[in-house]
Amino acid sequence: MSRYTATTPEDLAAMLAAIGVGSLREIFDRQIPAGVRLGRELNLPDGLSEQDVYEHLRALAARNVSAEEELSFLGAGMYDHYVPALIDMLMERSEFLTPYTPYQPEISQGGLQVMFEYQTAICELTGLPVSNASVYEGPSAVAAAGYLAKLHNGRRRLVVSAGLHPHSLQTLRTNAHGYGMEVVEVPLTTGSAGGAHGVTDPEEWAAAIDADTSAAIFAQPNFYGAVEDAAALSAAAKSAAGDNARGAPVVIAQVDPITLGVLSPPGDCGVDVAVGEGQPLGNRLDFGGPSFGLFAAREEYLRRMPGRIAGETVDVDGRRGFVLTLQTREQHIRRERATSNICTAQALNALGGVVYLSWLGRRGIVELGELLLARTHYAREALAGIDGVEKLHSQPVIREFALRLDADVAAVKARCAAAGVNPGVDVHALTHRPEDAGVLLVAITERRSRADIDRLTQVLADAIAATDRRSTGETTSATAQPQRKGMATEAAMPA
């Protein structure tokens, strides 16, 4: 007996007798060749008591600076939104936490109904008629959508906006190699181009899409926070493919579900498949996972969807019930011809998602969206008012925006950290794009109040003032007053 087992010496004796062996060892000796047996103990630390394991895990946790311990504006895919307490309670209920995938529907109606409700909520949010019950997370959902496009039209090219999250782009590339597809990246407009800045370049987009384009993929809002003209991108993708007999490419959008209370839903913008990272909906940060990926589509893609789908039916007595349906898509039935290899997905996290959406409710998701819009706008203007800071683009933003700092981002971040503030994500470290040097991505969730934003503004201004300028190499002394534009009369500029 060790932890969690229950075999007393008496049990063991009775069990071995029933099996008809003299020892436990014999069971193994008769089955595992000696040559592949581990002739020693595992070289792992000894087991610990519960309190000691807890203390160890707590000590590790204490060496992390979480959003509980600093004023954090980190985002770039995962966000410190408030998770209501009732979600914890529900996710911790044994009945939701501990079952397997619902293979026996008669005793799994709870989980199946949650999936059905989740699907309904995702369909409503995205304006698309079909949703599965979750995939792993955001970036791999993009890759999964690429596979759906391949199955759908068999073409080879995936045209992708550079506004996609870099992790999505990278994941898509990794997977596309397996799919035998090519990934073609379309740049964003820059300051020098005409029209809106910081969005998928419409000409390049149209030019990249050809008759062999399987899917056209963009993010809304894009990685730099800019709201894209989703309808125009979809329309362009469809017409760019011309009078391709096999139809237009599949238009895939990576969306941020929490923005969809205020942002036009992908289904209304001509998008065929919407995927996205579900974490903002009632899931914790967890250093990046687990969360869930949402996956919704137009009706025609239903039988090519990856993952579980719950469907409604009746029992032999006519009672309403739910089952896993369209299983002939799936690996356990279709095997090498399955529409995906996914098996275990993210049911519990999706539960968090649908409970969160129920908690927000029809009005709340709009109110929250409006609050995010207003606070994000306020923050963007305040920060862009700092000397040495400018907006990377001036597109509308929802709860995240990119700034260009005239200073080394890492150095600025280090200075802010000393003041207990994490001002955002160093974009270059994520994208490795040379043009992203100096770019800071700032996320404003509803947990960040105006006072928090004001504090960020102050701390960032101080930090930039104290940091070498990137562009000019000029040094400002660490004691210099922070500068606001238009405030130059108040204090002399440092030399």
């Binding site: 581990l38 519960e50 946790a61 909520a121 399955a338």
Partner: protein, 513 residues
């Protein structure tokens, strides 16, 4: 004596009503934080052409309604904390609540994945330690924690294999899998752009070595194996199999779903495997959550290590931890010179919350404890098998292959179907009335009317006895009247459901008005 009205079971009486059918327009749970910044013209914030016109028809319910609704439907689930769950291949072992407590600590749960490494040292150390433990358990030197579940690990593994061969200038296109393989194996092969070639199973339930030898040619990239396999049998020819596969330059992939049989006893690396995926949600007791989350780290041999996904956790001489993106491809640009990594498989670093739990488990049990877990899992499976024999069950439900088993065993329901006129499905459904989760049914495919039983090590002898009794009772009952099992279950919130109708005209969301 007492009058008894017609009774409908309480849970059956409650007809399924979704949250969308509850509430009333205007109800709400959410109270929005105050607008503390100046109000700005909506058009400035977000021009109308980008704006949603109609709000999504999400539920309009009060907080008490939400709680009642979800607590209520949770009661329509069977779960591991409520009873025996011998679902073969799924390793439904006890989920310690210590793990939930540890994972919920804000230092873990509210840690942003893009926190600077210097300020996420605890998380990186945990990942480092977990990698080390998984390496030791598997006998393979390098670990990536990134894959999100077992099948994601498989995908990583097959892509690694491809990268390995391509890097050597070879384009191998076949992947061998036994016909007992789990469905994710062949599905993965196709997604990775390779082709499945099936290898036959021999009379003992292992790989048919001759068939393997015949099929192992220079086009073979990989053999994917589960060992013990899905019949619960350890392949005695594993060393020979490895030799054949390596002999043609292919890699050997270990589907780790059955690792719970051999922890501390036999290591895939020592058997000759190049790539292993772990299911942290099976062997390492991450709760299944009704279908996830999972986590599917992989461990690999030196030769495939250069192709591992990015980022990797690294440690410098000072003992500080960092994430090495060094092999990452840039933004959307070309590969970095020198990088051989297959790239990323997902966002961020994997399902860290699952790592915390798995790591807590490994530290709780220690090396000894893991071995004891596997030994007890095997003991429990063999005991249950023996107990079923004692109860006379073997006559109708014989063991498909072999005499003993590892951590699980597969019975054939063929004789039962012929002699008692009930199918494995009927038996499974009747078990529901006895308060047990049925075993996995109709898998592996090559066993007629298969019933795959995995008790796990955390069950007591009393539970195993009760389960054996229930099976025996159902068989006896079927001898009297097979119709009882055929129409089972009776006591579940709903009875048998019409799956055909569900698939024919799929209704996959609540109709909203």
């Amino acid at each position: 004596m007492s009058a008894t009205p017609a009774i409908e079971l309480p849970l059956q009486r409650q007809r399924a009503t979704t949250i969308f059918q509850k509430g009333s327009p205007g109800r709400r749970a959410f109270v929005c934080p105050e607008l503390d910044v100046p109000a700005v013209d909506p058009e400035t914030l977000l021009p109308a052409r980008f704006r949603r016109v109609e709000p999504p028809r999400l539920p309009e319910v009060s907080e008490p309604e939400i709680v009642r609704h979800y607590v209520g439907i949770s009661k329509r689930n069977f779960d591991l904390d409520s009873g025996f769950y011998p679902l073969g291949s799924c390793t439904m072992k006890h989920n310690p609540r210590l793990h939930e407590r540890a994972a919920a600590l804000p230092g873990h749960a509210r840690l942003h994945p893009l926190q600077d490494s210097e300020r996420a040292q605890g998380a990186l150390e945990l990942m480092w330690n977990l990698q080390g433990a998984l390496s030791e358990i598997s006998g393979l030197p390098h670990v990536s924690l990134q894959p999100s579940a077992g099948s994601h690990g498989e995908l990583a593994g097959v892509l690694l294999t491809r990268a390995y061969h391509e890097d050597r200038g070879e384009t191998r296109y076949k992947v061998l899998t036994p016909d007992t393989a789990h469905g994710t194996n062949p599905a993965t092969v196709t997604m990775a752009g390779l082709e499945v070639v099936k290898v036959a199973t021999n009379a003992d339930g292992g790989v048919d070595v001759e068939d393997l030898r015949a099929k192992a040619d220079r086009d073979v990239a990989c053999l994917m194996l589960t060992n013990p396999n899905t019949l619960g049998l350890f392949d005695p020819n594993i060393s020979e199999i490895a030799e054949i596969v390596h002999g043609v330059g292919a890699t050997l992939y270990y589907d780790g779903a059955n690792l719970n049989a051999v922890m501390g006893i036999s290591r895939p690396g020592d058997m000759g495997f190049d790539i292993v995926h772990f299911n942290l949600h099976k062997s390492f007791t991450q709760p299944h959550g009704g279908g996830g989350p999972g986590s599917g780290p992989i461990a690999v041999s030196e030769r495939v290590a250069p192709y591992l996904p990015v980022p990797m956790v690294v440690r410098d001489e000072s003992g500080a931890f960092d994430l090495d993106y060094g092999r990452e491809r840039s933004g959307g640009q070309e590969e970095r010179p020198g990088s051989k990594s297959i790239g990323r498989l997902r966002g961020f670093h994997g399902n860290y919350g699952c790592f915390v739990r798995a790591y807590a488990y490994i530290r709780s049990l220690g090396g000894d404890g893991l071995k004891d877990a596997s030994e007890t899992a095997v003991l429990n499976a063999n005991y249950l098998l023996a107990r079923l024999r004692q109860k006379g069950v073997a006559e109708f439900l014989p063991l498909a292959y072999g005499e003993l088993c590892m951590h699980e065993f597969v019975l054939s329901g063929g004789p039962m179907k012929r002699d008692l006129e009930i199918k494995t499905l009927d038996l499974a459904k009747r078990l529901l009335d006895h308060g047990f989760h049925p075993p996995t049914v109709y898998f592996p495919l090559l066993v007629e009317e298969a019933l795959m039983v995995e008790p796990t090590e955390t069950e007591t002898k009393e539970t195993l006895d009760a389960f054996a009794d229930a099976i025996a009772e159902i068989l006896a009952e079927a001898g009297d009247d097979p119709e009882i099992a055929r129409s089972a279950p009776y006591t579940t919130p709903v009875r048998r459901l019409d799956e055909v109708a569900a698939a024919k005209r799929p209704v996959i969301r609540q109709a909203l008005s």
